[in-house]
Amino acid sequence: MTLLKDLTRGLWRENPIFRLLIGMCPTLAVTNAAINGLAMGLATSFVLICSSIIISLIKNFIPSKVRIPCFIIVIATFVTIADLVLAAFFPDIHAVLGLFVPLIVVNCVILGRAEAFASKNPVHRSIFDALGMSIGFTWALLLISIVREILGMGSVFGINILGKAFTPFLIMVLPPGAFLAMGVLLGIMNTIQDKLATR
């Protein structure tokens, strides 16, 4: 039961992007195409889950003064692994995600969960929490990137779905489009949340 709760928390109630509003930078930066959003989501998930496990394991040995540096080293290690693996086996995706793979280190989602959950809870619960958060993070990223890709390119995952007649709104794949799409989507999510809460 607790495990289920740990898992579902990240999906909506404490969705890192739409509810907690953390990890905004990668969210905005890489969501100009669905494939990038998905890739970023998965890469982040990998780091989040692995580091949650390790941190949950070693939490008792870490003195509080160096807690943050230690956590960050753990996270950074996994990020580098992800980076190297992507570069070695998925060079195209690596080229697109560019600077933002290393920046997973400082993605507030990961350190946030490490601090708030993994450093206080046993391993199995941390895994579920991280899994939930990962899924929450990934679907949010995917949603934003799909919206942006459709409007900005007329396609989804590179497949043109709106046909030739559609003139894409280039702005949606440019920086302002990221902010605007995120802002409007957040507004919609808040409306949904309000509706849910009053029910």
Partner: protein, 308 residues
């Protein structure tokens, strides 16, 4: 005769009869010469764009207000101005649906999301334009010649990319490529004179804006007269930088606003990626307007001892 209850209110008990509506309709009147010239030069499609843009702005405002259960205030004329100014800032050959999209965006995300009239931080018409430029850059930079209806380049484009200047008379009368309402400096100046006479705009912003551009272009070895009359500078200086909602409330602030916008225009025109920088200069200064207001508070009467 005194059965009815008296009215009690706080003083003053009389008020000036200028209202928001009057001011807004005044601005619309002042824009008529520029609109007429635009339609004269660029034909019916320009008129269509103007009408579509205004209609879209007004309808969006009404829908938004209805949706929020607020009184619908489209009669105050502010949405009409936004739609009209946006249209005057569009290339004459733009597809009509794009004008509508821009107008909807201008009112919805440029104005109403902040709470409507008076609360928007950025000039809605320019937000609409910037949105269109970023969304459809090709369409937004395709210009029609008023002479033969073929595609052409704007004087600033010619200047920037080919170093060709345009003669002053064409610039002044508007027989050149450009946005619907920006080409004829004459028409704009007529409207501006009306606004200044009515006291609807403050002279400080246009003066400091145009003055800065003139001085800086001279300093950098350009032709100041060309730069004053080319592009959207006149329209921007008199009709858009002066939008009171998005410009500073202090006098000192208005000087800073004008000078800052002037500097930005010159920087963008001379070194930037675009031939024209008026919209961005105004938008950027809109963004710092709250800070300007904050740090140019006038000295209160008697605050510093000044006993002559």
């Amino acid at each position: 005769m005194e059965k009815e209850k008296l009215l009690i209110t706080s003083s003053p008990h009389i008020k000036d009869d200028d209202t928001v509506e009057k001011i807004m309709y005044g601005v619309i009147i002042a824009l008529i010469p520029a609109s007429v010239m635009g339609v004269y030069y660029f034909g019916l499609h320009a008129l269509l764009l103007i009408i579509a843009s205004i209609a879209a702005a007004v309808v969006t405002e009404a829908v938004f207000q209805k949706f929020r259960n607020y009184p619908v205030t489209i009669t105050d004329g502010s949405a009409v101005i936004t739609g009209l100014l946006l249209a005057l800032n569009l290339p004459p050959g733009l597809p009509v649906w794009m004008a509508i999209v821009g107008s909807v965006f201008a009112i919805a995300l440029g104005k109403q999301v902040f709470g409507g009239l008076g609360h928007n931080p950025f000039n809605p018409a320019l937000i609409g334009r910037a949105f269109l430029v970023a969304s459809f850059p090709v369409h937004m930079t395709t210009w029609i010649s008023p002479v033969d209806g073929t595609t052409t380049a704007t004087p600033l484009g010619l200047m920037k990319l080919q170093g060709v200047s345009t003669d002053y008379m064409s610039l002044f009368l508007g027989k050149i490529g450009g946005c619907i309402g920006e080409t004829s400096a004459l028409a704009i100046l007529i409207g501006a004179a009306y606004l200044l006479y009515k006291g609807y705009i403050d002279w400080r912003i246009p003066l400091s804006y145009l003055g800065t551009v003139a001085v800086l272009t001279t300093v950098f070895g350009q032709d100041p007269i060309f730069h004053l009359f080319a592009g959207g500078l006149m329209l921007g200086a008199f009709f858009m930088a002066t939008d009171m909602v998005t410009s500073p409330i202090t006098k000192k602030g208005r000087w800073i606003f004008g000078i800052g916008a002037g500097i930005l225009v010159v920087v963008i025109r001379l070194w930037g990626g675009y031939p024209e920088g008026v919209s961005y200069s105004i938008l950027l200064m809109n963004g710092v307007t709250p800070l300007i207001n904050r740090y140019t508070r006038p000295r209160v009467f008697g605050e510093v001892k000044n006993n002559g």
